[in-house]
Symmetry: C2
Subunit: 418 residues, 2 copies
């Protein structure tokens, strides 16, 4: 990869994209959806080869799971591309439009950011989502996935180029690259050519990107996500929420890692532990849990801070809502947290007090998800507070300009002598 050439090609493509009609961008998204379907067999073959190599390299099972791009995942990407094509174009949208006291008309009008560099681990579906989101919001993207997914990602990069060209847009508007660490380092220094960096992956990757980058970074750190089962609920319904968050896709960042149980449920702890075990989940417990169920492994403070990404859960008994909130704000990662409650006042208290990007009442942590929230998937889930927090959708990939119209307005006296 020639970093300079990639960056310049992206900048040129960004200029064209910024002015591209919505219809043309949508055509490229639809073309990509068609190609994912047409080239399904090739994609599955490329992914199988990536998976085979990963197994040979003895990658951890959760990494292999993240690498998988099976027919069901291809279908959901096709659906997501169609959804993104159908979403309103954020570019040109105006907000805070008003007439100022001095008679000037002003509005903030959304415009693309420009060029976005995305650095992520494995996950071929990100190559589809991230390219699609950047494109729809008028940005050129440079996508650098994990080397484990290289065969599949390279094929997807080719499909992006074809789809863009088919819509009359620059083929370089989405570039899938596989540069070395040094070459990525060069890109991270190009603050004149690249407007935003989004790293998604392990802590090490994200720290390295942030430390090297001269470009603004929106970090996508880990999710140590909680479910708090309040007193007075239908316990089975609450357990169903906790199990959904833990078991459906344990390898993703919005999977549930810690379940906090109101002390009112102390007598039910054996049943709670059993429900996890019935679903193949290893339970690590705080003191009260281990008093109730002797063979539960102890959970330490280290466990409360751990993103297992696996069929493991830590379980703790807390005294009340306040204790649950304190635990979450202290040990959590400010990502996604849930309360299951029948109390309106405790629901409000939880929504207000928990300092996380996404806070939910009576729904599983899996719903921290752009598709469920009507955003047509998401480019990632920001753990930063600056620019974007939580699931990032189309408008989060734009900036704005102030457009102001006056009528010869002067701030001071007229200085033209006639």
């Amino acid at each position: 990869m020639d970093a300079l050439q990639v960056a310049h090609a992206a900048r040129e493509a960004a200029t064209v994209l910024a002015a591209a009609a919505t219809e043309r961008k949508n055509r490229a998204l639809d073309a990509m959806a068609d190609r994912l379907d047409d080239r399904r067999a090739d994609l599955l073959r490329a992914n199988e080869a990536d998976l085979e190599a990963a197994r040979e390299a003895e990658l951890a099972q959760n990494l292999v799971d993240r690498l998988r791009f099976d027919s069901g995942k291809i279908d959901s990407r096709i659906e997501s591309l169609r959804t993104i094509a159908a979403l309103p174009d954020p570019v040109g949208e105006s907000f805070e439009a008003r007439r100022c006291a001095n008679g000037m008309e002003m509005a903030r009008v959304r415009v693309p950011l420009g060029v976005i560099l995305m650095i992520y681990e494995a996950r071929p579906h990100v190559t589809v989502n991230a390219g699609a989101f950047c494109l729809k919001a008028g940005n050129a993207s440079i996508l650098r996935g994990g080397s484990e997914a290289e065969r599949c990602n390279t094929l997807l990069g080719g499909l992006w180029a074809e789809s863009l060209a088919a819509a009359g847009l620059p083929a370089n508007a989405v570039q899938v690259v596989s540069g070395s660490h040094e070459e990525i380092g060069e890109l991270l220094a190009m603050e004149e050519s690249i407007d935003l960096v989004i790293p998604r992956g392990g802590k090490g990757l994200i720290r390295a990107v942030r430390e090297q980058s001269r470009i603004p970074v929106i970090k996508h750190f880990e999710g140590v996500c909680h479910v708090f089962l309040d007193e007075g609920i239908d316990l089975d319904a609450g357990l169903a929420v906790a199990l959904d968050g833990k078991c459906l896709m344990p390898e993703v960042c919005n999977a549930t890692e810690t379940v906090l149980v109101h002390r009112a449920w102390r007598a039910e702890l054996p049943r709670i532990v059993q429900a996890f075990r019935d679903n193949g989940v290893t339970v690590k417990g705080g003191e009260a849990v281990r008093e109730a169920v002797a063979d539960v492994e102890p959970a330490t403070a280290e466990d409360w801070r751990t993103e297992y990404l696996d069929l493991v859960v830590s379980l703790r008994v807390v005294d009340d809502l306040g204790a649950a909130v304190r635990h979450i704000n202290e040990y959590g990662s400010h990502h996604t947290d849930v309360i299951v409650t029948d109390s309106e006042s405790r629901a409000r208290g939880f929504l207000r007090e928990v300092d996380s990007g996404v806070v939910l009442v009576n729904a599983s942590t899996m719903f921290c998800d752009g598709a469920s929230l009507g955003m047509g998937a998401e480019i990632g889930i920001s753990t930063d507070k600056i620019h974007a927090r939580g699931p990032m959708g189309l408008q989060d990939l734009t900036t704005y300009k102030f457009q102001i119209r006056g009528d010869g307005h002067l701030m001071g006296p007229n200085r033209v002598s006639r």
Copy 2:
């Protein structure tokens, strides 16, 4: 200054402020306005001492101008504090509220960022504005002004502490500090305690902050601002706009630096040059200007990129709107740019094509200004594209969380066996 102590005090204050009632924050703002009035004589004396020291140190005139905090400026700060108190509180505001297809209710709800560190040069009025904006948006602030303004800033810091305490808020919610470069460096490493850094000042200051900081930075770089005088306008009205931008406050970032003149006005160049000279402005000209007025100094490519911050203007003849836009996007700093035109289509073209934070039609560059735009002043004018661009108001000092309410929503099958 003990950096650790300052940061911890700010974090503690931020927790209180995040939950503080609007009325209490407004009471602190009103108390500060009262104090500025009551202690006016002391403030003027402190500022006079700072100015005296600056003159003795032979500071450049534009720096001395930025340091001045006279009675008129105090009045406008008082007015600004009252305006900010009267503005709606952004905290708790929700946006994008909707019912999702699966029946969940969601909204993004604004919350404070937390702790904001502001590093700026001289300018005592920033000590008032920045503290007021951060406070109203529920953030604790650490304000580090230029050492030239230390007497005045220290006094203002005391007034902030009194005003906060009078409203029952933590006196440390606004901390005015005067740390050494090393101590500021320590603050810039405290990513756990500080959420955002806003540097305002010369390029060197901003670069140093960005290079040292582990915390997200919103940069406030220079303004190389343009006025384009289109063909077919009332030339006197256009000149009035250009002169207002150049002469009213040449030391500020939104002052006009370059005036582009449509070639249709070639015959009027002597009159245009004279209008600037009549107002004490030195004109540097491109080739066509110097052909028309022999004694005009030449402007080089370096001039087109220069923020004079002084009574100097560069003047260039351009062929048409397209040439004006190209000049602005190439040589400008993407800050604030103006077209004076009677053509609706060229106004639209300029608003669309110029890639700047603020683009205006028929109004002077001075109107890139939060007060004029109904924002009650501004904390600064961002030259970044991430998080905030152009004049930063209250909502630009907040982040949000997604609040979602379900009804026992599961993403997968119910895993509780009964």
